[in-house]
């Protein structure tokens, strides 16, 4: 199995979710993160002093999929999360040795 970790712009969540639903992807886990990268944060003003906000709000999606589905999922995310602007985010593919469903104890691909 692979864990596909994706960093996206927050407003893209709906698009990615819809697209993955189309692929019949059963689950994912989302968290709020701050990203630091080529896309520079804004400069904000606080009581008269300008300051650089280095970190940009992003969402991180984690989706564990069977090995054979990794590619199509990556492609789907790539397409649905893209705006073409700097800061669209990254996809990281990480090996997963096992997955278990707590409720039933199922293991492996069947647990997803």
């Amino acid at each position: 199995m692979k864990k596909i970790e994706v960093i996206i712009k927050p407003f893209k969540l709906e698009y990615v979710k819809a697209r993955l639903a189309g692929l019949d992807i059963q689950g994912m886990t989302v968290s709020e993160v701050k990203g630091f990268g080529r896309q520079k944060g804004h400069s904000e003003i606080y009581r008269g002093a300008e300051y650089q906000v280095d970190f940009v709000p992003k969402l991180k999606l984690e989706i564990v999929v069977p090995d054979n589905r990794a590619e199509e999922v990556v492609t789907a995310i790539m397409e649905s999360a893209r705006t073409g602007e700097i800061g669209d985010g990254k996809i990281f593919v990480i090996p997963v040795e096992n997955a278990l469903r707590i409720r039933t104890g199922e293991e492996g691909d069947g647990a997803l």
Partner: protein, 443 residues
């Protein structure tokens, strides 16, 4: 109409005569005149005390402004300071401060009678109680101004010491010079004709200059100024709360300024209008100034602009015209922006801008009360105003500086760097302002 009355023991029956209900006057002229006077007295009490309640509510306003403009990890500490400078201030002003400010003076420099509210005896004229109530909320306002400038790094126990000294001594002594004759005192500054109707100097500048002393003795928060001399903003944690605080303060000012008549009369109309116009003008001017300088209408500056306008009109609210009030507010709004930038530049770290809002604009407002005097411009009047401003600075900054240095060199004024980084809420109070884990529950 039946009403509840004081449970008066027979021995105190005299009181009954004093508070005779005006509703049943007898028909002879003298008693009728008394009855009319009694009704007027009742209105005066109602107005003075309602105004006191509004000024009390400013404590909530200060608490919200200060917590909004500081970090979450210090929010409990801010609340405790605001609660306690009012609670302790009440007790110290009752025991000591009021007597110093309004007592008859043996020395000519401060009052020496009327401690522990001893001017009142059961059955006696209750005016001193109403008057004390109105004055105690003013004393607490002066105390709480300092809290903001010293936020996020001051030891709580040391803050309590400061708070007691300010309520018992620093504020009342100056107050006795400017306002003592409102009761049993007789201040030298008011004797010269010093105009400070509701306390631009007496309350706000005094608070602001003590705040300046505190901020200087404490030094800046860790991380506020870069090693390269750069200014690094430390943004607060809840601007909507800060805005709520400003609205509450604005409301409270409708007690602060017109209530300072301590009498219900038609003068309060102009004071209301002036107060409101100056606040509005201050907010607009600060917004525009910030917009021009930073290219954006900054919320922190706009909020402080409203407060600056309010502080600035406080001295002259009863002797300048509505038109002048707008000008005073506009200048206050510009001034507060420049002043915040200035104190940043000279590396005085004042997290909420208390020195700029209260100190600087208190001084400006006091000067303006002379400049825009409806009775016509007089160099002598302006001179006295300048004298008052200077004396207030010397007294408040001087005593504040000594006090904070003394505290610093004995019990210590500042928390450890570790505690500061972790937040005072934990270090000082063993607490967290937002302890619930699932703060955002579902998406």
């Amino acid at each position: 109409m039946k009403i509840k009355t004081l449970v008066i023991p027979p021995a105190l029956g005299l009181l009954a005569a004093a508070t005779v209900h005006a509703a049943e006057p007898s028909a002879d002229p003298a008693s009728m005149a008394n009855a009319i006077a009694a009704v007027q007295t009742h209105v005066d009490y109602v107005w003075t005390l309602v105004a006191a309640a509004l000024v009390f509510f400013m404590q909530a306003g200060f608490a919200m402004v200060e917590t909004g403009f500081t970090r979450a990890k210090n929010a409990v500490n801010i609340m405790m300071k605001n609660l306690m400078d009012f609670a302790m201030g009440t007790l110290f002003y009752w025991a000591v401060g009021f007597g110093i400010m309004f007592g008859a003076s043996a020395t000519g420099w401060f009052g020496t009678t009327g401690f522990f509210l001893s001017d009142w005896v059961p059955g006696g004229d209750p005016w001193v109680l109403a008057f004390w109530m109105f004055q105690v909320v003013f004393a607490a306002t002066a105390a709480t101004i300092v809290s903001g400038a010293m936020a996020e790094r001051t030891k709580f126990s040391s803050y309590l010491i400061y708070s007691a000294v300010l309520s018992a001594l620093i504020y009342p002594v100056f107050g006795s010079w400017a306002w003592g004759s409102l009761f049993n005192g007789n201040g030298w500054l008011e004797g010269l004709g010093f105009i400070d109707f509701a306390g631009s100097t007496v309350v706000h500048s005094i608070g602001g200059w003590v705040a300046l002393a505190g901020a200087i003795v404490l030094g800046p928060r860790i991380g506020k100024f870069g090693k390269d001399g750069s200014v690094r903003p430390i943004p607060g944690h809840n601007l909507p709360l800060a805005a709520l605080g400003v609205f509450i303060l604005w409301l409270g000012w409708f007690g602060f300024n017109p209530g300072s008549t301590t009498a219900a009369n038609t003068d309060i109309a102009m004071i209301f209008v002036n107060t409101n116009l100056a606040a509005a003008a201050g907010a607009v001017a600060a917004m525009i100034t910030a917009w021009l300088k930073f290219d954006k209408p900054d919320v922190g500056m706009s909020l402080n602009g409203a407060l600056a306008g309010l502080v600035a009109i406080t001295a002259g609210c009863a002797n300048v015209s509505p038109g002048s009030s707008i000008i005073i507010g506009l200048i206050a709004g510009v001034l507060v922006v420049l002043s915040v930038l200035f104190f940043d530049r000279i590396k005085v770290d004042d997290p909420v801008g208390a020195v700029s809002v209260h100190g600087v604009n208190g001084a400006w407002g006091t000067l303006a009360a002379g400049l825009f005097n409806m009775g016509g411009f007089s160099a002598a009047v302006v001179g006295v105003q300048l004298l008052g401003i200077a004396v207030a600075f010397a007294w408040a900054f001087g005593t504040g500086f000594i006090l904070f240095k003394l505290i610093a060199s004995t019990v210590g004024l500042r928390v450890t760097p570790e505690e500061e980084m972790e937040g005072l809420d934990f270090g000082e109070h063993g607490a967290t302002a937002y302890p619930d884990f699932q703060h955002t529950s579902h998406m």
